[in-house]
Symmetry: D2
Subunit: 336 residues, 4 copies
Amino acid sequence: MSFNTFGRVFRFTSWGESHGPAIGAVVDGCPPGLALGEADIQTWLDRRRPGASDLTSRRREPDRVRILSGVFEGRTTGAPISLVIDNEDARPADYAPSAAVFRPGHADYAYQAKYGHRDWRGGGRASARETAARVAAGAVARLVIPEVAIRAEVTEIGGDPDEGRWPDLIERARAEGNSLGAIVECQALGVPPGWGAPVYAKLDAELAAAIMSINAVKAVEIGDGFAAARLSGERNADEMRPGAAGPDFLSNHAGGITGGISTGQRIVLRAAFKPTSSIGKPLATIDTRGDAAEISVNGRHDPCVGIRGVHVVEAMVALVLADHKLLHRAQCGRDG
Amino acid sequence: MSFNTFGRVFRFTSWGESHGPAIGAVVDGCPPGLALGEADIQTWLDRRRPGASDLTSRRREPDRVRILSGVFEGRTTGAPISLVIDNEDARPADYAPSAAVFRPGHADYAYQAKYGHRDWRGGGRASARETAARVAAGAVARLVIPEVAIRAEVTEIGGDPDEGRWPDLIERARAEGNSLGAIVECQALGVPPGWGAPVYAKLDAELAAAIMSINAVKAVEIGDGFAAARLSGERNADEMRPGAAGPDFLSNHAGGITGGISTGQRIVLRAAFKPTSSIGKPLATIDTRGDAAEISVNGRHDPCVGIRGVHVVEAMVALVLADHKLLHRAQCGRDG
Amino acid sequence: MSFNTFGRVFRFTSWGESHGPAIGAVVDGCPPGLALGEADIQTWLDRRRPGASDLTSRRREPDRVRILSGVFEGRTTGAPISLVIDNEDARPADYAPSAAVFRPGHADYAYQAKYGHRDWRGGGRASARETAARVAAGAVARLVIPEVAIRAEVTEIGGDPDEGRWPDLIERARAEGNSLGAIVECQALGVPPGWGAPVYAKLDAELAAAIMSINAVKAVEIGDGFAAARLSGERNADEMRPGAAGPDFLSNHAGGITGGISTGQRIVLRAAFKPTSSIGKPLATIDTRGDAAEISVNGRHDPCVGIRGVHVVEAMVALVLADHKLLHRAQCGRDG
Amino acid sequence: MSFNTFGRVFRFTSWGESHGPAIGAVVDGCPPGLALGEADIQTWLDRRRPGASDLTSRRREPDRVRILSGVFEGRTTGAPISLVIDNEDARPADYAPSAAVFRPGHADYAYQAKYGHRDWRGGGRASARETAARVAAGAVARLVIPEVAIRAEVTEIGGDPDEGRWPDLIERARAEGNSLGAIVECQALGVPPGWGAPVYAKLDAELAAAIMSINAVKAVEIGDGFAAARLSGERNADEMRPGAAGPDFLSNHAGGITGGISTGQRIVLRAAFKPTSSIGKPLATIDTRGDAAEISVNGRHDPCVGIRGVHVVEAMVALVLADHKLLHRAQCGRDG
């Protein structure tokens, strides 16, 4: 995992800026012989796509993926799979104000401080648009772990767990030029016991990194997470009784992972997405010369980035699990 | 970061089991010329040491570190630094019951499922004893980042933020054969803007992995973390005004990191430690043959592992920051 | 360095098959602020390009590179640089015979044995066409090390060091449906003392891997190489006398590297390229069912791949040196 | 592979200086359940041990290895295996002259230039003593690849292939305070087709790096190596005919590897060891202040380091093959 590459054996490298000509990913280490066509990836991109719902960004990107390598006669060859998605609805002019002014909550200032030179168009490399590359790579990862079903969903928006109130909350935020945070929960079923590794390759540590690397995520929990810190040891214990194959666990406070290794229970994690940083309300900031400035961002932004984050969370979980399945196989000589 | 190695340029490899002859770490990529003696490491190990406080484990380990390489005439040479800590108060016989029975909440079952063969003495490799190696390596990391002050503390035990009540809570838990979780907060001051990197080497992603890799940690927050998901975009914005060198931020909801890169504000993170899994109360479980069993663990365990976790959290933060300082220097040619 | 990724801090990932739609490379970890346009890369691709000389392959590829990310307003941003080169003169039909028959000396059989499914068109991923991606990435690497001049040249073709006889040798080989090997020597001037690292990141070890990873290379020498094994210690010693800045070396048997670290002398290495495996003469082989077969390859192949290998050798040397400059800077805090 | 760590999935980290208290290696990623005791490692160390033959160094090191972790009840657990070898016959005083004077051919000057501070005792980290750690780690690697037999031997000393003359050559060199180079050839039998990977993880590229990382090695050949560059394509072709399982190859110019992947033939490589740099004859050099100096080294050095290099070559080949077996298994789901 180095800068723009994620994973060890099953790995991918992502590239591209929000308003450049295209974004993409190169998936390396994929097992050969898997049936893979563009449609297998497109189906996941379509779900993440902006403009797919009234609740999300109004940027209209078809997000059409092309496979440029690594697949021959409909099956993977084991060679790197190059995935490219053209940027079609780029409107860099919308972002001209952010050329000279650092948007609060965005990477603008940090990138400027680090690199001295940055692509300010729509956040450039720091844009959530990069997550389309993750979803595309994640679609390939899913093929590597057919035994696993991954399912994420929003469980809270703006602090409210009542799904019925979300459309109103979001419309109000959009109308006010404001935005909302969200909690996303993800479960993975079918992971056999034994995936993961001590000590710095713990499955939960890698999941935490994968999820925290998603734009706007500020917290990650495994299993009961923070709530576990408030339980007694007795209450938090996942007792076992004899089961058909291995133990039957009486509870799953641990979220399916102990000692960094899967137990065979369902893996459960939650991510906290901060509210979208791009809002219409005016905010105090400074410009690139260091002078005081004010900015209100009128782009086509999601009022709640967590909603589309669901698909990115799923993709990252798939990518971690695919890598660990192969790592487990490497060291232990079997899949589960 | 591969299995038992952590970091990219400044990296360390840890080894050893709870009741083997010794544990240790090899620190690689350390800059040359740093003054380093065993006392520089010992001071941090002494803080983490079991038996140092009434609130922690009664295992008595001197945790005396020896430096076997990489230092010459009192200064680092740039060669790998081998650190060894002998295990002296090992009492493997205490753990004989766990040879045949899987302790709930521990790695026992997961390790057995993965490896088929495990060192069951005190949790073997999965023991929190391994964290002494991290603290030792972290002491070296601190020398690489003298500009940074790292300070962690317990902010909650058993759900209670009132420090005055903690001794009673802990004694009660110990008396009952029960245990408590804790929240640890860590701050790092003095990190200049510009450390970290997109996209999979984000500073917050790496911190999350580092912290989640610590035994018993089940959740990590950066800045406001989960609370940020419940704020509006307006409330969560960290506005800026002109400052002496770069911006003055009016708040720090982000915890000092945006876009995965430090902003120059203090870095703030929190970790949730689950309650110690080894408790005296009897728990239902299975044995290695798959039959029903009951276990109550009478070792010399911390009733609240989060307390000693403070020192491990600090060490891991130091290790991540040292690595990212060097990575930033590599790519951008300067320290800040 | 993992499968299709090369390097540690300055790294690139290559993708693409000989007769797929395109090939490319993603360069990651590049310092920001470097002036970079497509022309800076094109100039090097043009030299490697097939069809550029009578002595090389007659495939006509314009090898036009496009930069899809990582550059903004003519300068690198520190984000990954995606380089794409379309395949235009692909004639997969030429390769239909190799679908069912393993070409001796090629990767055909090994790929089939490993992956079970392979892109047989022109060697697919194993084609020398992949080296265009290296040359493109190498062009970026050169910008990172402006202090270094890299110059490779053919010193021997078909065992003959006399340049004047090479055109005839090659024409004869082509006419006979045969092919020739070559020796390429590369020198790098301007590398300061101090690049490289013990023990498994030795500069010479990394150069050896880089060069040996080039198609058709079967041997690598540093400095005197095999000849050093035939000298006495006294004859092989590179004595020193006081110089303007550091030592003046009286000889350079070591090829500019001792202990895996550059000495400031010119770096000298040599690579042996085997003769092109694709020849018109009929060869005994087997087909994919295991039956006996005969094959003579009538493509548009270089009769001596070493000639175009010159540019690939230079690129790989640049890639290694750029990475090691940044690694040295990371650990030691200075460029030289 | 980062500085002092070698390998990807099966990996080891080496540490220690020639005249420090000990040297060692941490082997990570080892499959669990392998029978491993200190004797399994000692047997290989004993062969490499200085003082084992009249032809080698007279330093008397028992090279007694201790296993400090990763093995329980005689079998590997999958946890890191810490191997330690104490330095017993260290005589740092012998090396006092090299504190102030750079020995030609050694890493002294390069280390000083890089790090500014170095352990000059016996070459410190750059000493061939480090190779004992490789041999120890290699002994573990051999257990991972029981299907493979690795056998290296010296084929040439001082340019002379006639074994009968070597004792005289060496004694003469020793008497004259001179030294000799050597060629070592290594063969690996039993490697199935399919190990290795494109493009930067080619099996031959990794072998080249592994071998070139050994002290004093200046060149590596795979198969016919440089001789292949002097053959025609017709002569160099390894033709095939139908065999019992896969092809029968009619020759093995390629040395068992095509396209970076094993073919099932025996793997053949050769390494050129330069003559020992430490010689008794006086050589011109400079001291650490930059002034002219003369040095003649009277240690207990091997007159021909290539002889003991045989065991290191074997170890490095085992380490590369073990890693690639596991990598192949990871990606392709089977061992061969």
